[in-house]
Symmetry: C2
Subunit: 150 residues, 2 copies
DNA sequence: TTTAATGCAAAAGATTTGCAACATG
DNA sequence: CATGTTGCAAATCTTTTGCATTAAA
């Protein structure tokens, strides 16, 4: 999936606006790092962003990639797939179920729903490959963390 | 959320059956490691499984935890949350969208659906905290990997 | 010019591996 | 008893941090 030129330009513009508003300096590195993610339809990890950004800025360093990615994340300019800054977690529940995950502390709980289990996917998904399982991930803030934020 | 005694026993039984069928030795360590995951409603990471298993087997080592977790995963006895054995990935698409992820190679693509965006969650979810976003994750095998498997 | 960001190198953290001792089937 | 599994220690891989230099506003 290629991202349309117009969409990329919009993302870049939004990025620049947010940076200006929040007093984040628009460095050469940050612009190119953000561009790499904004223009890619896959969802690269830090190492991949590093390799791709090096094509444009050969002297960029990996730690700048990390610092920038989390900065962008903290300001809502990018999101992580799965739970953020988390280690791999394991689940022995083999029944069809869904997850609620707290973005602050990682608190995770299962929930069940017959309605959700019947979800119909758009045909376009089939074109990506064979589907094995579908599950809903709800991100939010758990009760404890809601308290803490006050 | 506490897992019911009966459910835990069922999971343990299934675990033992699969191990016997597949010629995996039922060691003290494996049994206790699996039990820890089977009886927990949160979804522990390797370190947490390690700490909890040490209560029962003080001499267990962290590398046995890792080896066992991936063994269980390979035999379908546990699943990982999010994409398995993957590093953090970043996404600059801030529009409401969903993901298809290949379990073999990590290939990931966005897809859109107005129907899915309207998903209604069961009330029980609200009791966990405040909901910020809901998205569907489809796991499967991408076209390339389907080819490779033949 | 002031302040924040970068690159480097080193530290810290997480996961994996080789191998001798040991336990399971 | 044979083989696969464990624990240890060391290696590897990933991410973060301190600090002097550099660049943005």
């Amino acid at each position: 999936m290629k991202i349309k030129k117009k969409e990329i330009e919009q993302r870049m513009k939004h990025f620049e606006t947010v940076c200006r508003d929040e007093g984040i300096k628009l460095t050469h590195q940050r612009i190119e790092i953000f561009r790499e993610i904004a223009q890619s339809g896959d969802h690269p990890n830090a190492e991949q962003v590093f390799q791709r950004t090096r094509n444009r800025i050969p002297t960029v360093s990996l730690d700048t990639i990390y610092r920038t990615l989390w900065l962008l994340n903290d300001h809502g300019l990018v999101k992580t797939l799965g739970a953020s800054r988390e280690r791999n977690r394991f689940d022995a529940n083999l029944n069809s179920h869904h997850h609620f995950v707290c973005g602050d502390c990682g608190f995770t709980r299962d929930f069940y729903s017959n309605d959700l289990d019947k979800i119909r996917l758009p045909d376009s998904v089939d074109s990506y490959g064979e589907i094995e399982a579908t599950h809903v991930e709800v991100r939010g803030v758990c009760r404890k963390c809601v308290e803490k934020r006050r």
